[in-house]
Amino acid sequence: MDPHDFDRRELLARACHGFGGLAALPLLGRTTGRGEPHHAPRARAVIFLYMDGGPSQMDTFDPKPRLQRDDGKPFPLKKAPTQFNDDGNLLASPWTFRPGGECGTPVSDLFPGVRAQMDKIAVVRSMTADFSEHTNANYFLHTGHGLQGRPSMGAWVDYGLGCASRDLPAFVVLNGGLIPPGGLDCFHSGFLPATHQASVLRGGDEPVPNVRPREARAGEQKEKLDLLRRLDAAVSERLGRPDAIESAIQNHELAARMQLAVPELTSLSGESAATRRLYGLDDEYEPTRSYGRQCLLARRLVERGVRFIELTCPSVGTDRWDQHSDLKVHHERNARAVDRPIAALLVDLASRGLLDETLVVWAGEFGRTPFAQGRDGRDHDPFGFSIWLAGGGIRGGEVFGATDEFGYRAVSGEVDVHDLHATMLHLLGIDHKKLTFRFGGRDVRLTDVYGELIRPILAT
């Protein structure tokens, strides 16, 4: 890439998006992101509910009667090597499926809350990924590439659309406690300017690194900032007010505003008791309260113009959705943590009229095998698993694609992560083939050279 071609027209274009956009400009970076959509968007924000570790499709959104019947029998299909190489016989789902909503999409008892919202949701039962290892699969899910170093989907969205918030970054990760394998690089800007990397918000009194002023005395930082303004003005004047200095000064102003905006954002005291209850902030299970808070924050971020919000999973004390053993106990814990808050998020967004313009995506990095690992676990299965989408531009009540009789491989409507990315960008008004960044001699895309829209789940 060539970070030196500072495009002034670009600067002006982005300046229209408000102060945040202006200050977030790379100083010398050529930005070929557009700052405006390619076509009319169906959604202006994404909430990505990342299910770390890989929830099991046969136990959540993809019922398999044959699997239930053949419990304990040998798996009769051709099988790829698994990560733990400890493959047992077919393992029936311990949960019952029931129809949800008016559409009747079947969902297991792991997700009673989400089940009631199925009219808002399109399930894709034929998602595939290229990797059986967490880290590669996480990079793949987030960046469309199995190795470290590529920009995350949220970074691409920020790059493509810019930020609509004056005080907050465009790409926010709400860290519920677990950072997925692959680390924070899942959320990084890769070769895009660092401007586009995620800001990771977590719980506690300092949700963003260094966002809390350290000055002991009230008003002290303000005095310092006043002095800084005067000294910076002198510097800029002396140098002839170069762009680089001016935008760095404005960046300090944005940082100062974030010091106020972030605590305002994370304080939930203004939310009604009903809302807090809806999200499960009163739940007796701590992980539910924790995830409920994240979901509520997600809505607040959408309200404030943040473009891409990703939620990581809360810690349920044992493992995330990665049940190599003891499927029953641990899938139940993970589901319990997220079910009520996710349902609440859909209800709340809808009641505020925000769901029409917010795309909600629920996905893990892969699914799990229909045959057991050991006695009572399931190994990784990237060959056919379930994800779902809801909200802006999505046809609710839909089910797309299918796996084989056991849920092992996608057999119809096979789609992959690139297709998901293409669809997400499309709903945001971006043509995934046109959103490019010159790096390493190529005009690189989030979707590489792949990606087809998953049209059957799109609303007309």
Partner: protein, 856 residues
């Protein structure tokens, strides 16, 4: 004749089918060669009128172009501005106040030259240059991925870089050592430690990310090598060779066969744990050998005899295949490192072990072995057998040893861990020969070799610090058999019994040998390249490693003639020498351009890592060529090149035109300052910002070299593989280049200021402007701590007089004095008698003033 690689032999039918398809398909597009493929042309620097710039060809080229475009140069920068600029550009540190005062008193051309010479001779220079190069080799000390295993000896490569820049190692040699330093006859020993340096150069290529427990080892191998190709081609050649992985390069004249020619070259090499011993350790090893001979005489046993040429007497069954045999002369070609393995292929060996009570235990190993503990266990060595293709399920290894580890390295995969691959790594814990058994069911068709290391930590991914390693390990390898059977083949020999010998003479000889062993210097361990078994690679059709096309021999790039690579082994050394030759059209240009970029913030070719079609055209093509040829004429001296640029008038320009009309013209014609009519205002890299804080605070510790300072972990660093302990907040005051770089725990301060993720070559960092930067400067405890130290140091030296203190702090932080406006503002904030906290707060504000992080 080279053997085809496993990847090719795996599916010969597929190969055939694929080549038929390839023949039937359309002929590959041959792209026209762009400018970068033609060697630099000698051009006479244009004549210019201004006598001040007539001396230096750089200035003549630049000025002539400015004149042609109707642009006037800005006036020269103020002396202090130039001094600050050149100090940061060459050393990454601000000038000291006394340097500033001296130069202000005499800013003559001679004084400038003296400054540049001082900076180039400064230890800070090598450190700064090394950190820049580290971006090109995606430097990291851990493998990333799920558990972030450490990379053995990565920091030694960082020290190698610093040393190489310090001593101005000619750039051609610098390149050769990084690609093939393991193959050079002259290993270039460190003058102080006597350690061979050249092999460490190859470590840079090996600093790639590694996958934890990959399911498909061939895929992991092909990704690993792809990354190395990407890094080597971008860093040295400014070419995006990796674009030709799946198809012919879309824009450059690089067919996909070029990619697989280089792939084969790199696939023929291996990463090994190398034992590097100082030259003077020879004396200690010889003394130990004498003491061991005396001990054997006292014990009445013959010295071990060379193994000669034969076979180990195995009763092979159907389905058995010997893949390594110490009895056979082929074993002399195994990769061996360390004095422990000198003359170590012997028959009927008997190790003499100190029982600790004045008696000696005799441990016989019948038959032929390669033995690392014959003289004394404290001698260290590593061994790697020849490669073989895994074509049956079980591997049986006949070996003895203690404190040693055996790794079966499949397709170059060395970060061996459970699940899946745990059995590829076994510990030896037996004095008598035993059979180790390795289940290779999931590695069928792959290439492998067996690696032995008689350290407690031979594994490149071991978390132990090397100080904690115990050299008292040893191993003895007899043979290895691939078999369809789970049980090893019967062996015709009766095992010999260990026995004990005692007596005064024995005790004395043991004590003498113990003294000799205690005097052995501990060698250096580092992961480097070594030659494996040469293989030619088949084209992976559309980049898929299981779909193979034509086999490509090792050769140079097609656009450069595609000459076969002769010489030793795989031809890697020959390849390195071709790249580092004066005739190569790219190598000198690419480096000259990097150096130019370092000094001006923008290369003459703006896309420093891509000189191909999709890269940028040179802004001053003739100057680039002139500099490249000058670089060659100066013996590839980077320092000479930097000196020339630093002393040019072009480098010394101010960032502003004083004449408004000239400023307006420049803004209109050349808003990005490509033509160099004025200096660019540049933001400093994160490392320089941090180092500058340490310098002005006085906290800086200028200790050089050595293991990295552990990374300071913040509450946010929650990723996997988190070290048990956090490093210090201030990194012990060491320069940023010495801070540990862990892939899963990259320093958030540096990341905020655009330090690249160590994934591939990044020759041009982006320069972004994110709130995280301002928040770090405003609220990070490190900045606050250093500001307090800064204030304390200044007030301790000068007392609390406000104007004097402000003046001193401005000089230290910005290399200038405050203007009246600034002084007034400062006095307004500080008042008449500020306390220590107020001074500290003021110092903290100065860290946030844009002058601190920008270079004019």
């Amino acid at each position: 004749m080279l053997r085809s690689s496993s990847l090719a032999s795996l599916a010969s039918v597929a190969t055939l089918a694929a080549s038929v398809v390839a023949q039937a398909g359309p002929p590959p597009t041959v792209h026209e060669k762009g400018w970068c493929w033609t060697p630099p042309r000698a051009v006479e620097p244009p004549a210019v009128d201004d006598p001040r710039v007539a001396r230096e060809p750089i200035d003549r080229f630049v000025r002539a172009r400015l004149a042609a475009e109707g642009l006037a140069p800005a006036p020269p920068a103020a002396p202090a501005t130039w001094l600050r600029r050149v100090s940061f550009d060459l050393c990454g540190l601000p000038p000291a106040p006394d340097e500033l005062a001296a130069f202000a008193a005499d800013p003559s051309p001679a004084a400038r030259a003296a400054v540049v010479d001082r900076l180039l001779a400064s230890p800070a220079y090598g450190e700064h240059m090394a950190r820049r190069w580290m971006d090109l080799v995606r430097y990291a000390e851990s493998m990333g991925h799920e558990f972030d295993y450490p990379i053995l000896g990565a920091w030694r490569y960082r020290d190698w870089l610093i040393d190489a820049f310090d001593r101005d190692l000619p750039y051609d040699r610098f390149v050769v050592e990084q690609l093939a330093g393991d193959l050079l006859d002259d290993p270039r020993r460190d003058p102080v430690t006597g350690i061979p340096l050249a092999p460490i150069g190859t470590t840079g290529l090996l600093l790639n990310e590694e996958k934890h427990s990959p399911i498909d080892l061939a895929q992991a191998a092909s990704d690993r090598i792809d990354n190395r190709i990407d890094v080597a081609s971008k860093a040295f050649l400014g070419l995006t060779l990796a674009c030709a992985r799946c198809h012919d390069h879309k824009f450059d004249p690089i067919p996909t066969t070029d990619y697989y020619a280089v792939f084969g070259l790199l696939a023929s090499a291996r990463a090994v744990t190398r034992v590097l011993e100082p030259a003077n350790s020879r004396v200690a090893h010889d003394a130990l050998a004498r003491a061991d001979r005396a001990l054997r005489e006292a014990a009445g046993i013959a010295p071990p005899a060379p193994a000669g040429d034969g076979t180990t007497p195995l009763s092979l069954r159907d389905g058995d295949r010997v893949v390594a045999d110490a009895a056979h002369r082929d074993a002399d070609a195994w990769h061996r490192d360390g004095s422990a393995l000198e003359n170590a292929r012997v028959r009927d060996a008997c190790a003499v072990v100190d029982a600790g009570d004045g008696t000696a235990r005799l441990l016989p190993f019948p038959g032929a072995v390669v033995h690392s503990g014959l003289r004394e266990a404290r001698e260290v060595g590593t061994l790697a057998t020849a490669s073989f293709t895994i074509d049956r399920r079980w591997l049986h290894v006949r070996a003895a040893g203690r404190g040693a580890r055996v790794n079966v390295v499949v397709d170059g995969f060395r970060a061996i861990r459970a699940p899946i691959w745990g059995s590829l790594r076994q510990e030896l814990a037996s004095d008598a020969p035993v059979w180790l058994r390795v289940d290779l069911e999931r590695a069928q068709g792959r290439r492998a070799h067996i690696e032995f290391c008689d350290l407690t930590a031979p594994d490149p991914a071991d978390p132990l610090h090397e100080d904690a390693w115990d050299p008292r390990g040893w191993f003895a390898l007899s043979c290895a058999v691939l078999s369809a059977r789970e049980e090893p083949p019967p062996l015709a020999e009766a095992p010999a019994e260990a026995r004990v010998v005692a007596g005064e003479a024995i005790a004395a000889a043991l004590a003498a040998r113990d003294r000799a062993a205690a005097a052995l210097p501990l060698p250096v361990f580092v992961t480097t390249l070594a030659e494996g078994d040469p293989v030619d690679e088949a084209v992976h059709v559309r980049g898929k490693h299981l779909e193979l096309g034509e086999v490509v021999p090792h050769r140079d790039l097609t656009a450069l003639g595609g000459a076969p690579l002769d010489g030793l082994g795989s031809g890697r050394l020959a390849f390195a020498r071709r790249i580092a030759s004066a005739e190569h059209p790219l190598t000198a240009r690419v480096m000259v351009n990097r150096v130019w970029q370092q000094m001006f913030g923008r290369g003459l070719v703006a896309s420093a890592d891509n000189f191909g079609e999709l890269g940028d055209e040179p802004s001053h093509g003739e100057l680039l060529d002139w500099l490249a040829l000058r670089f060659l004429a100066d013996g590839w001296s980077v320092k000479a090149l930097l000196r020339r640029i630093a002393l040019s008038e072009t480098y010394a320009l101010a960032s502003r035109h004083d004449d408004p009309a000239a400023a307006a013209t420049a803004e209109r014609i050349d808003p990005q300052d490509v033509l160099l009519s004025r200096a660019r205002v540049r933001r400093l890299p994160g490392e320089a910002i941090r180092d500058a804080m340490l310098v002005v605070s006085g906290r800086i510790d200028r200790t050089r070299f050595g293991p990295s300072v552990p990374v300071h972990l913040r509450a946010f660093d929650a990723a996997r593989g988190r070290p048990a302990q956090s490093g210090p907040l201030d990194g012990d005051g060491r320069r940023s280049v010495y801070l540990q770089v862990l892939r899963n725990h990259l320093d958030p301060f540096f990341l905020a200021f655009d330090a690249p993720i160590p994934a591939t070559t990044v020759g041009t960092r982006s320069t972004s402007n994110v709130p995280a930067q301002a928040l770090a400067l405003l609220n990070d405890p490190f900045a606050i701590e250093q500001a307090a130290l800064f204030a304390r140091r200044v007030t301790a030296e000068l007392g609390t007089d406000v104007p004097r203190g402000v003046d001193a702090m401005y000089r230290a932080a910005f290399a200038r004095t405050p203007s009246t406006t600034e002084l007034t503002a400062a006095r307004g904030y500080l008042g008449d008698a500020p306390d220590a906290a107020r001074w500290a707060a003021f110092a903290h504000v100065l860290f946030n003033v844009k002058d601190f992080v920008f270079l004019e």
